[in-house]
Structure formats: C-alpha cells, structure tokens
C-alpha cells in the first residue's frame, strides 16, 4: 500500500469513528446537552436520563475515543465537556445554522432511504 493510500485509509477510519460515535441517540443527546449546557458531571448527565449511569459513562467514553468529548477530575467527580475543535475561531452564526442542516439532512437521508 502506498503512503498516500495509507493516509487516506487512516482518514476514513478516523471519520468512521466520529460517525459511529454520533450514530446513537443517547450519544447524540449527550453531545447536544454538553453543547447547550457546557461541562457537566456524570451525575448531572444521568439525572432524568432513561438509561443507567453506567450506560451514560460508557457512551461518554465512546465520545472520548472519537475525540468528541473529554473528562477532567474535580475532586472525586469526572466532569465531561466537548472537545473544542481546531476550527473554533472560524465559527460563525451561519456555520451554526449550516451544521444544524447537516444533522437534519443526515436524519432525512436515514428516514427516506430505510427499506
């Protein structure tokens, strides 16, 4: 395998990881929650959730593996937050709206393409 195709293969693997991480209702809800509310403890994220605290922890770890979220210790607690992206400074209002359309269109695709 050439060096270029190796790099391409790694990019595909990395993108697949992010898509897989977001392709779950609980994890998507966690990402939305962290985006809206900022850093939160596992206890806070589990409150009112329909799944167990262990499940929330597992999902947060999956987000971390994909590079979407990270945790820091505060005393005995783990505080989770979304990982700021490198392009953060380039964000604008329209980028936000555009990103929401991307999410919505992904859901539309799943909706109309299902057998």
């Amino acid at each position: 395998m050439s060096r270029a195709s190796n790099v391409a293969a790694r990019k595909v693997a990395s993108a697949a990881l992010v898509f897989a991480a977001l392709g779950d209702e609980t994890r998507l809800a966690l990402v939305s929650r962290l985006a809206a509310d900022g850093p939160r403890s596992i206890a806070e994220l589990s409150a009112g959730a329909s799944v167990t605290r262990q499940a929330i922890t597992k999902h947060l770890r999956a987000l971390a593996v994909a590079g979407l979220a990270r945790d820091t210790r505060r005393g005995r607690e783990s505080i989770w937050e979304l990982t700021p992206g490198r392009l953060e400074s380039a964000r604008s209002y329209l980028d936000e709206v555009s990103a929401h359309w991307d999410l919505a269109l992904g859901r539309l695709r799943a909706f109309v393409e299902e057998p």
Partner: protein
C-alpha cells in the same frame, strides 16, 4: 453532500437513494417532516398557512417553532419561512425577520437530488447572531466541520 455558505444564504445539495415521491412525502407531510426534523406539528402543511410545532429532540422539548408555509408544488418545491435558530425560549422572535427555506427536488440516476436553500440572513439582527454564537460555545460545529473536512479530504 455539497454545501456553500455566503453572508446571506446557505445552500446544500444532497443525493438521496430514494424515489422522488418518497422524498416529497418526507418533506411535504407535516408528520413525516417532523419525524426526521425532530418536531411535532399541530396540523398539515398548506400553502399560505402558518403552522405551529414543538421540538421533540431530547433537551429541546420546551421550544416551539412556527412555519409560515409559502409554496407546496408537488414533487417540485416546498418552501416556508421561519425564525432560524430560535433556541432561546425566553426570547420573543415574532417581531424579527424570517428566513426563507426552499426544498427543490429533481430526479437523478438512482435517486432524487434535493437542494436546500435558506436565505435572508442579512436581515437577522447582529445581536441574535452573537447570542447564537454564545449559546453554542461547545465546539460542536467545529467537530462537524472536522468531519466534513475528513470526508472531503479522503
């Protein structure tokens, strides 16, 4: 998916592996639109009518949305006006300008091409833009941009 954003409009183009009739129903029937968009509407979409809906996405259930349906041209065009990014339940958006969202369908090999244009952003007040920016200080869209870049770069 292709995407372009200028100062006043967002344009997206996506090819869906589904018949045009299927895509049209997913857009023009309020219950189907709500199913993928994450909203529940009080009635059907009708040209010239305003329809109210509630967000069903977890964490945003307290938000309601109003669509002013403009054009419903079967299997061709569905358009409406709304207040974009109206995510502050305390804020009254009713006096602010709306953007126009247009969905256009055309047949293509193996499926349906859908284009979406949201325009009219130049009239949205600057403080609203700043507010939306603050409320999303989570790096979330940056991650989406990263995904887009990964995929585009492959």
């Amino acid at each position: 998916m292709s995407s372009s954003t200028t100062a006043d409009r967002i344009e997206k183009r996506i090819t869906l592996r589904a018949p045009r009739t299927r895509v049209w129903r997913a857009l023009s029937e309020a219950s189907q639109f709500g199913a993928w968009f994450g909203m529940k509407f009080e009635g059907p979409f009708e040209a010239g009518k305003t329809i109210r809906g509630n967000i069903t996405t977890r964490g945003y259930e307290h938000l309601s949305v109003e669509l002013r349906v403009e054009r419903v041209e079967p299997e061709q065009l569905f358009s409406y006006r709304w207040h974009p990014y109206a995510i502050d339940a305390e804020h009254d958006y009713s006096a602010e300008p709306m953007t126009l969202v247009e969905f256009r369908l055309s047949e293509t090999t193996g499926g349906t091409e859908l284009s979406i244009v949201e325009s009219g952003f130049e009239r949205i007040p600057a403080d609203r833009r700043a507010e939306a920016f603050r409320m999303n200080d989570g790096g979330w869209s940056a991650q989406l941009k990263n995904i887009e870049r990964y995929v585009a770069g492959v």
